[in-house]
């Protein structure tokens, strides 16, 4: 499926859109980390919690549960909620 990557993570992917697979968001992140080592830890912490300011949208709907199921035709957006000075 297509995954949109925010600018802060494009140092890993070298692209704003990448292809990745997984039956859940957790699996998708694992797949992304295999392709782009280190990327997952920048957005999900060691307790498997989404880091502050990182958000996931699946087909335009915000998702907070990383166990949410995915379909191969889904479009996933990783978004960073810019904040601070």
């Amino acid at each position: 499926m297509q995954v949109l990557i925010p600018s802060a993570l494009q140092s890993y992917t070298k692209s704003n859109t990448v292809e990745a697979s997984g039956a859940t968001l957790t699996e998708l992140l694992a797949n992304l980390d295999r392709q782009y080592p280190g990327l997952r830890f920048r957005i999900v912490d060691e307790q498997d919690q989404m880091r502050p300011h990182m958000r996931f949208f699946v087909n335009g709907v915000q998702v907070f549960d990383l166990t949410q199921g995915l379909q191969p035709t889904d479009c996933v957006y990783l978004v960073q909620a810019l904040s601070g000075g």
Partner: protein, 396 residues
């Protein structure tokens, strides 16, 4: 795990103190809220070449050169939005690579567990342990790498120990940008003899390579009305071990300046002899590379609401040449009024030249240095972001 209660053995002094020949050149490693800069000095330390920014936009808490190989640099990084990581260079900063496994706490079996917000402190291990490093994090955690900073694992038992967790408190108890584990020090005579400090949570020592730790807070004061017997109330800001006499430590604390001469376990408050209008509150503590009686501090205003500025807007370093009996003000060249910056705990250091060069970075983004042990200061960089740490390395 049980903590040892035995007193540390007195170690025979085997350190040979000698005046080093002036190294070929010095590089000042400046970590800031928005990136890192390296300033390469000429052999006389008079002119400086700026190299940077590295990691523009990243919050860099510490950049340290490995003195054992003279070329490996580690940088502790995160951004406002992304999780923490460590960057590594094996060519003195020309290229960088991200750590494969940055410091991270163990996943909790139950409950919310802790997540590293940022790596705060980096210390190369003993000279006989090449490629090994220690890291201190916020929230407080102690980590070690065996492979030059590429992969990190929890070190010792303290990260998940119930007593230590109680002493560490929570983010609610910490400094404004998170509670820190800092001042990780290795006895140059013995790789198993370690110290670290926590803000808050006291000073701790191990003589068995981290298998056990004991607290070292006797003599340290706490804020009025609190119980000094409670380790959680102790807030060391910066602790340094004297390279010329590893049995002597100095500490800048939330409640004064202290000295500890081992094997004693009792800190002596040596800041009482500071001028009353300045006080003995501050963050950095700098030790002389060859003279254990000489240290420098940089006082800040710790009154009322803790402005964290230079007292009266007049920044100055203070030096003692007699282990704390008396202090002299060193402000020649520094602004003499309306300068409301200060210096964070990792942002002041010394080189090994004779006379010693001092370097400090300000919260207003200026780097100042002195080629004569603080008698005269000059600004070598300005308009940088808020400076979090300054280290100096000598390149051959």
């Amino acid at each position: 795990m049980a903590r040892t209660t035995r007193k540390p053995a007195t170690r025979k002094k085997t350190i040979t103190v000698r005046t080093k020949k002036a190294p070929r050149r010095v590089v000042v490693l400046v970590a800031t809220r928005k990136g890192a800069w390296l300033f390469h000095g000429d052999p006389a330390r008079k002119s400086w070449r700026c190299d940077g920014p590295h990691f523009l936009g990243h919050i860099i808490n510490h950049v340290v050169l490995d003195p054992r190989d003279g070329r490996t640099l580690l940088a502790a990084a995160k951004t406002g939005h992304l999780g923490p990581t460590v960057f590594r260079s094996t060519n003195q900063g020309r290229t960088w690579k991200e750590a494969t496994k940055p410091p991270a706490f163990t996943k909790a079996m139950t409950g919310p567990g802790r997540a590293v917000d940022h790596t705060f402190w980096l210390t190369p291990c003993h000279a006989n342990e090449p490629k090994a490093w220690y890291a201190g994090t916020s929230p407080q955690g102690l980590f070690r790498s065996e492979d030059g900073g590429d992969t990190w694992a929890a070190f010792s038992y303290i990260n998940d120990d119930a007593q230590y967790r109680a002493w560490m408190g929570s983010a609610q108890d910490g400094t404004p940008d998170g509670p820190k584990l800092h001042s990780i020090m290795v006895d140059p005579r013995d790789p198993k003899h370690l110290y670290f400090a926590m803000s808050g949570g006291g000073v701790h020592e191990s003589i068995d390579g981290g298998r056990t730790f004991t607290t070292l807070v006797k003599g340290m004061e706490v804020v009025n009305g609190f119980d000094a017997a409670n380790i959680a109330f102790h807030d060391p800001h910066c602790v340094r071990l004297c390279p010329s006499n590893p049995d002597r430590l100095y500490q800048q604390n939330h409640c004064g300046i202290y000295r500890l001469d081992r094997p004693s376990n009792e800190w002596q408050r040596i800041g009482k002899s500071m001028p009353k209008r300045v006080g003995d509150i501050g963050f950095p503590m700098v030790v002389h590379p060859r003279d254990a009686n000489t240290v420098w501090v940089f006082p800040m205003d710790g009154q009322t609401v803790w402005p964290r500025t230079s007292p009266e807007g007049k920044p100055a370093a203070y030096v003692t040449r007699n282990a704390g009996k008396s202090w002299q003000r060193l402000d020649t060249g520094l602004p003499n009024s309306q300068a409301w910056w200060t210096v964070k705990r990792q942002a002041m250091t010394a080189d090994h030249y004779d006379p010693v060069g001092l370097y400090l970075g300000t919260t207003a983004g200026e780097v100042w240095m002195s080629r004569d042990e603080g008698k005269q200061w000059r600004c070598i960089a300005r308009h940088l972001p808020e400076i979090y740490s300054v280290e100096v390395a000598e390149l051959g």
